[in-house]
């Protein structure tokens, strides 16, 4: 992996969304070019590429991704998998996995349960500060002390009490 890729990965782990945009813009053309060669409509290919980049981002954020190849190769591999999966869903018989996909973490996000869907809706209606603290704790898996380090909170008790208020507010939104 190149030094540039390593830097990008580190920035993704630190939740740097600018790095996400850089990756998206840097590899979009190559991805679409490969897709065009495979006869994939460009709009479909772009939709797949966006999903691939988001999957990649979330995997890196959750520490679930271990990449040995370049980011570009990883994205192309994930894209190939997603495309084959989409075709299979359209009942076309195509091999889903080949040797180039061994490294890939191809776990697809599961469909949300009714309760999870309610939480998602409620979460999107929370204040930005509530969204951020809940996101850091539940989604990124940061400890209270990690959150203090990365934010303006003065101590873990402040984070803890703010998180509790946000959860209470989320619960109220769901009930309503």
């Amino acid at each position: 992996m190149s030094p540039t890729d390593k830097q990008l990965l580190e920035r993704l782990r630190m939740d740097d969304k600018q790095a996400l945009e850089e990756i998206y813009l840097a590899y979009q053309h190559d991805f679409l070019r490969v897709a065009r060669k495979k006869g994939i409509a460009q709009e479909d290919a772009l939709d797949i590429f966006q999903d691939v980049v988001i999957d990649f981002y979330q995997q890196v954020q959750n520490g679930a991704s271990s990449i040995n190849s370049s980011i570009k190769a990883y994205l192309l591999g994930m894209g190939r998998y997603k495309w084959y999966k989409r075709l299979n869903q359209q009942k076309q018989e195509l091999p889903l996995v080949d040797e180039r996909m061994v490294e890939l973490d191809t776990e697809e996000p599961a469909a949300l349960t009714q309760k999870q869907e309610q939480l998602r809706t409620g979460f999107s209606r929370l204040s930005p500060s509530c969204q951020e603290v809940l996101r850091m704790y539940y989604y990124r898996g940061l400890s209270l002390s990690d959150i203090v380090e990365q934010t303006q909170y003065s101590n873990t008790n402040t984070v803890k009490s703010h998180k509790s208020r946000c959860l209470k507010r989320l619960s109220e939104l769901i009930k309503n």
Binding site: Y24, Q50, I54, N62, E117, L119, R120, F123
Partner: protein, 239 residues
């Protein structure tokens, strides 16, 4: 470690295998704990889905990357360089041939200004016969008569016309020998001597000598064949 911290680490893969198994065992006997673990997971997935939606909107709003146009200017620059090199090569190739051709382009026999011929001259002397032959382009006869004259007297003007006749006849080496004997700075045909020597040097592709002679000529007699001398000086300077 507090219970919520354990659950967070459990879902983020930060518990050891033993710790994870211990928590799963506890969940089997503790419904409240099981509910807490599931609630954490529900919120984790819900936030993940919200995040995903936000990112999708964010990426969709970014400009579509246009295919990179192939940068043509490096190719154009390379082509221009190759073209220039090619032209330089051709020019040089033509220049290699040119010295010999230059001689043919510039050489003209010097007019007879030494011994004007009076028409219907009844008793022509040897000198007259020599210059009549010269003016008629009968260079072999002119050479023969001039050489004979030179045996009687070392006359520079006879030698000059002998040299020119030799050049016109194609006997360049013999001509060079004769011109080389006309090095007197006060000789009235000194300028044409330098000019012919320069042309003969060009013919032999000795451009350095030709240039030296042309510079001498230009310095001694700036008006003699002025344009031709300047052209040849420019030409020889490029070598």
């Amino acid at each position: 470690m507090d219970q919520e911290g354990r659950i967070r680490k459990y879902w983020h893969g930060k518990l050891s295998e033993q710790e994870g198994e211990a928590l799963e065992t506890e969940m089997r006997f503790d419904a409240e704990l099981k509910q807490e673990v599931q609630s954490f997971r529900d919120l984790q997935l819900a936030i993940g889905a919200a995040e995903r939606q936000a990112l999708k909107e964010k990426l969709s709003a970014l400009p579509r990357v246009q295919p990179r146009r192939r940068q043509l200017w490096p190719l154009a620059a390379a082509a221009a360089v190759l073209l220039l090199l090619g032209m330089a090569w051709l020019y040089r190739q033509s220049a290699v041939v040119a010295p010999v051709e230059l001689f043919a382009s510039y050489y003209e026999p010097y007019p007879n200004v030494a011994h004007p011929i009076v028409r219907q001259q009844e008793q022509a002397g040897q000198e007259t016969l020599a210059f009549v032959a010269y003016e008629q382009g009968n260079y072999s006869e002119a050479i023969e008569r001039l050489e004979q004259l030179l045996t009687t007297e070392d006359h520079p003007e006879w030698r000059f016309y002998l040299a020119v006749s030799l050049v016109s006849q194609g006997d360049y080496e013999a001509a060079q020998v004769q011109f080389a004997q006309l090095s007197d700075a006060d000789f009235r045909f000194r300028s044409p001597v330098l000019w012919y020597q320069a042309l003969l040097s060009l013919r032999e592709e000795d451009t350095a000598t030709a240039r030296t002679l042309l510079l001498q000529l230009q310095q001694a007699d700036p008006e003699f064949e002025k344009a031709a001398v300047e052209r040849l000086l420019k030409y020889t300077s490029e070598w």
